[in-house]
């Protein structure tokens, strides 16, 4: 049961949120010029790391805002949450 710090509302229970999967996936600007395989990378391929993961969350039962988070997929520690457009925090030292 995660405790998630919404950048607008503060710490809230996990049940108020919905996870939106991997974050910082750029929508290809040249989509019409790239191959199906390259487009598939955008649509489907995911880093799915065992470790720190940049991901998207929506405070769906709260302020309805989306934001980004850096969370560890083994310990579930949430190192940071930040608003869209804010720079993504670096990976914690010595880990991947």
């Amino acid at each position: 049961m995660l405790l998630i710090h919404c950048p607008w509302c503060g710490p809230r229970e996990e049940v108020e949120f919905r996870c939106g999967g991997q974050g910082h996936i750029a929508r290809p600007a040249d989509a019409m010029d790239i191959s199906d395989a390259e487009y598939a990378r955008y649509l489907f391929m995911r880093t799915n790391p065992k470790g720190w993961h940049y991901e998207r969350w929506n405070h769906v039962h709260g302020c309805r805002r989306w934001f980004n988070a850096l969370r560890h997929t083994v310990t579930h520690e949430i190192r940071a949450t930040y608003r869209p457009g804010e720079k993504k925090p670096p990976l914690p030292d010595g880990t991947t």
């Binding site: 769906v60 309805r64 805002r65 579930h76 869209p84």
Partner: protein
Amino acid sequence: MTAPFDLRRPEGGRIDRARAMRFVFDGAGYSGYAGDTLASALLANGVRLVARSFKYHRPRGIATAGAEEPNALVQLRGNARSEPNIRATQVELYDGLVAASQNRWPSLELDLGALNSVFAKLLPAGFYYKTFMWPPGFWHFYERLVRRMAGMGRAADASDPDRYDHRWAHCDVLVVGAGPSGLAAALAAGRAGARVILCDEQAEPGGSLLGSGATLDGAPAMQWAGAVLAELGALPDVTVLPRTTAFGYYDHNALGLVERVADHAAEPLPGQPRQRLWLVRARQVVLATGAIERPLVFRDNDRPGVMLADAARTYLGRYAVACGRRAVLFTNNDHAYDAALALHAGGVDLAAIVDLRAEPGGLRVDAARARGLRVIAGRAVTATHGRSSVTGVDIARLQEGSDLAVLDRESIACDLVLNSGGWTPSVHLFSQSGGRLRYDEATGAFLPGRAVQAVRAAGSCNGAVALKDCLKQGAAAGAAAAGDCGFAAAPPALPAAEPEPESAPMRLLWVVPSDAPVGHKGKHFVDLQNDVTAADLRLAAREGYRSVEHLKRYTTTGMGTDQGKTSNLAALAILAEATGREIPAVGTTTFRPPYTPVAMGALTGRTVGALLDPARWTPIHRWHVRAGAVFENVGQWQRARYYPQAGEDMHRALARELHAARNAVGIFDASTLGKIDVKGPDAARFLDLVYTNSWSKLGIGRCRYGFMLREDGYVFDDGVTTRLADDHFLVSTTTGNAAPVLSWLEDLLQMEWTELKVRLTSVTEEYAVVTLSGPFARRVLTELTADIDLEPKAFPFMSLSHGTVAGIAARVFRVSFTGELSYEVQVKASYGLALWNACMEAGEKYGITPYGTEAMHVLRAEKGYVIVGQETDGTVTPYDLGMGWIVNDNKPDFIGKRGLRRADLQRPDRKQLVGLRLEAGERRKLPEGAHLVADRDAVPPMPMLGHVTSSYWSVALDAPIALAMIKGGRARMGETVYAPLPDRVAAATVVEPCFWDPEGKRLHG
């Protein structure tokens, strides 16, 4: 002859002798006192045999005094409140309690299931994996027998009448366990000003102090406990929760607790929940969960009357119950001597203390000897005797290096065998928290190691033994926890405990020898509940089940309702021995929630019945109810499906509704469709990006139908969107997708196109929408409005007018989902019912007829209009639907544009939307979902073309019609396809998916 020895001792205990409680066990009436558990009351009444074991149906009694009880499981209460597998040791006695033994037939005394014992030799661990394989396919029959034998208690025979609550709570410090350590911790944190929750599974806080007879500052320790509780009670930010078990430790310091609010009564008081589930988010946690005494594994260690030493002390000290008249203590450690001495002082004849250690020494042993007790060192109990109760034990000398104990044999008569193999700290919650465990050689137990979450362990769950150490650890942990929450805290002054003698080392002997090799005679039980023996464990190891998880699964040890609280460690040790490894190298099994079983009702809380999911009603709902509508669930909405009149079935009601909509005027409640208000300077640009078609040039007051795709190119949603102003649109969505569409649009705006100035507002519930549809729709509306010009030229198809309808400010959209002249009148929700009533009144002379979703479906299908989620299933493109015209490929970008270009989405033989007409005179509809084939005579498995998505009886055509998605369907016009049905093969002709007014004259009229 001495006076008869009364098992209920004349004085002492924490029972209320003024309040006698009657109860029934297996049909016989007994009496106990307030403060008793069912177990203590049964023991006081001399009831020894209370259960049968799972596999061999061996007679079993009460072995423990707490949550770890493996044997004494009963069926509690009756009828709808009947509960299986309840531990008698945890049931508070109440007047009128009814309990029964389980898993026996015909009776507890005479249980035919015990025949299994005869065949026990054929039933070693995992026997079922090795047999029941012949003849092939016959497992089904064996299984019936196995299932009947298995299981324990029974589920209730009627719906649970009780209610359960959920509660979320936050605190600075959660203290689990209100024994001496937990009380000290709560006191330290509470005094510092922290918000504290202290929970304990028992009715009365105090933990081990309740039955140990310990003193603090020279007074009974419970006096100190009482004072602490009084102080805690006076602190405003401290909550003490008795009868509350912390059962699960989850991420980010969240714990699940279950509070048994009313289980100590026959039924809850009116308005009272039976149990309450607490979800506690704690900044710091102190675990003071105590320790559980570990049984010794000796031959036939399961007979009623074989009991943990400390349990017997608890029964005497807390309930004033002597568990027997003549006892033998069998121990590998000093501490059990305390129990023996207490029982001796309580009047129990202590026949002997059998100590596995060759030379036990120290103050406790001396004290026993000083009282004239017979201490027999270096011996073991090698057998027990008796059937429904133990009648005696055999003892023999242990020999170094031998697996047998045959020397100096002696038999001792007794009716109580106390045994103690040391203590196992209750590290369940610590382990669940992710904390590492470390093995302690001296005590043969796992102790909390490095913590991962904000948690501390204190007291005997942390390996402390002496009371003073428990208090000290508790106080220090409580103060540190409060300190970590920012409170200035110092451990409180603690009362002085009696000095405790240093303990001599215990002797770890995981399997006690007897006069025959283990497994040859009798049974050395490790897991009493699942009847797993030391021989079973060794067999598993021999067969290669060397991982502790394999061992558990192969033998079922630790998989019972007690989850191995008294057996896991011994099983681990036996596996380690059998495989020549050290215990830490074998590891420990994962502790999983819950610590003790939790009623499914408590987990559920209130979210059943009407509260399972909110039911959404339109503002006109009450009218539909009064009209006798039959409703259907569409997502959370309850929509009127049809309105049967007296004597009508659905088919007739539908025919009437359809006839009215095509020939007169129908009225339909369309309020459930999703409505999203899109506003901002970039609104049109935004819609250009999320719809396949173009919006920038749509005139104000004009409507347009659009598809939203997913990025992969498949249809996500559809609906009509209207431009209200240059920077303002009203998007409509399907009923079921309203929330997902809004969420998706927000996602795009907030995360992808952050530069766009657009705001979205869900206005679905702001407005009621009444659709008038049919040739007389305009006439009805004319009667209701004076300020809207309804002339087709002034108010053409796919446009919007503002004005008043029935005196109510309204937006009127001229759109149609039926193919008829239609108006959707949108008013503020609170006026919805008034509008509907006004329409009904004005329309009466035109034969206005309410129609429901079923008629709506038929009307739209006759026109070939698709329903997202019916014609589409997440794998359909606009091209597949024959609606390529709606995709504006000239736009530089829109969601799904690139996805549509992928190779598989361009195949010519994709499934495409078609209509189906049946042979002339065929009156039977095709079933929806029926699959279509090209070859009438094909046999399974046969290649399929596609399936019927919609199928109705068309009143307008007086024939069945259908829509279907079939491979290369556009190129199959005029072909015959076949639907092989269970009872026939239906033939159908592929036609254009529009059966009614293909030119659209009526809706433009």
